[in-house]
Symmetry: C2
Subunit: 263 residues, 2 copies
């Protein structure tokens, strides 16, 4: 299955973001992709601060309704980050819209909130294992800081995912550069899974982002990589069977179970 | 504390290996190091195959006795890999000789054996947490393939180590190159600890090694790095207090505990 990652510049009018995501869905579908991934809090923008109180929507809100229609019209599935309202609680969430099924989106809620900013505006429900079957591919979800914890990626790998989709909002700076260059690739390699890491770029009113979105293979190879600035639409073919030799050479899950490392 | 990593070429007479390790202890001590780390199965050579049956020694065998004396004479502590005999069982082990204490070495036994070769000749006791205090530094031990599993490094980090010493025998090839370039640095970063990764280089009668030994800081920075070939003696100052800012920026252990990721 061909997938696309939509790195979004944080510049410009926040209100135009749903339009930009829909345009990317159409472009990705034209390019042969069956799934588009957008960044963390892609629908609102990441740096909105106190505005999240009124921006947050439910899993069957206006954004979801609109994007479900676009998915049906274009035939492309979507994973996109948004601020989710659940009663009085707000989560950093990602919605999964399967173009083949007209149903309320599957929702993943970020487990590991980073820093005072996220903890001030959002709640964590703790770790959860959300996996959806999209076009025959088992796709697991994490958001940003989640993937920096090996426990989160391992949990999904042990549950049998082929691909981990990671909407992110990685800040500019040395730590962010290290995560983009080393941590994401290591998560793929140590679990022998694909990872799609989809970031913002440039600056909004609050933060500057790393860019450098990527799609990484189970052997750690970078299949597609965006630059540090601007919108980018990355494509890669996800074919888990092509990495059978890598899994035989690096049988981490089997060997870990053999010495009871998971107990 | 200053430490040294002794990357050993696999070429030459295996019988000379204890002499080479002693010479490196003297050179490292002259260079101001208080601890020398040697590779996996450094005392015997890694590619010895069936010969391990008669090469293996106990923790108070000839190698340990001799190296304890050298540690006392030179004032430098030692971590070195050797094939360990324990009754009829053989382990891939590392001995820790504290120059300040005249006692039988502390022993760590490799948990995660790699491939048919290691599993044919050695047994795993399963995961264990071996930490020694050397000159005020809390030093944890893993061997080679162990460090490719995030669970092993995490266990030591949660037990409060400052440095993970990793004698290794990393094979040449794409996977080995990935481990040396990305996995080792990610283990340091995601746990905010130092890692000393000490490999063989060149070829013995059975294998070719990656070289590229390194000493890595808690922020993922490479403090010292060897080339792909030949003996090398790397030095680095290990000062955990210098990375207080990195630990505040990347509080992985605290944030993981907060959302019960370790439960």
């Amino acid at each position: 299955m061909k997938i696309a990652v939509f790195q979004m510049s944080a510049q410009g009018d926040h209100a135009a973001r749903p339009d930009r995501i829909e345009a990317a869905m159409r472009d990705a579908a034209k390019g042969g992709a069956q799934l588009l991934i957008a960044p963390e809090l892609a629908l609102s923008g990441y740096g909105r601060g106190a505005a999240f109180d009124h921006l947050s929507q439910s899993a069957d809100g206006e954004w979801a309704t609109r994007l479900r229609k676009t998915a049906r019209d274009t035939g492309i599935s979507l994973i996109a980050g948004f601020p989710e309202r659940d009663g009085d609680t707000h989560h950093i969430s990602a919605m999964v819209i399967d173009a083949a099924i007209d149903a309320k989106p599957v929702i993943y809620r970020k487990a590991c909130l980073y820093g005072d900013y996220e903890k001030a505006h959002f709640s964590s429900p703790g770790p959860s294992t959300i996996i959806t079957d999209l076009g025959g591919l088992r796709v697991g979800l994490l958001i940003c800081y989640d993937v920096e914890f090996p426990e989160n990626a391992r949990r999904l790998a042990r549950a049998g995912v082929d691909l981990i989709a990671v909407p992110t909002a990685l800040p500019d700076g040395a730590s962010g550069a290290f995560v983009a260059a080393h941590v994401v690739r290591t998560r793929a390699f140590e679990n022998q899974v694909h990872i799609a890491y989809c970031d913002h770029a440039d600056s909004d009113e609050t933060f500057t982002y790393q860019g450098c979105s990527s799609i990484v293979a189970p052997d750690g190879a970078v299949l597609a990589q965006a630059g540090g600035s601007g919108d980018a639409l990355l494509f890669a073919q996800i074919d888990p069977s092509a990495y059978a030799a890598a899994r035989i050479e690096n049988p981490y899950l089997r060997d870990a179970a053999e010495v009871r490392l998971f107990d």
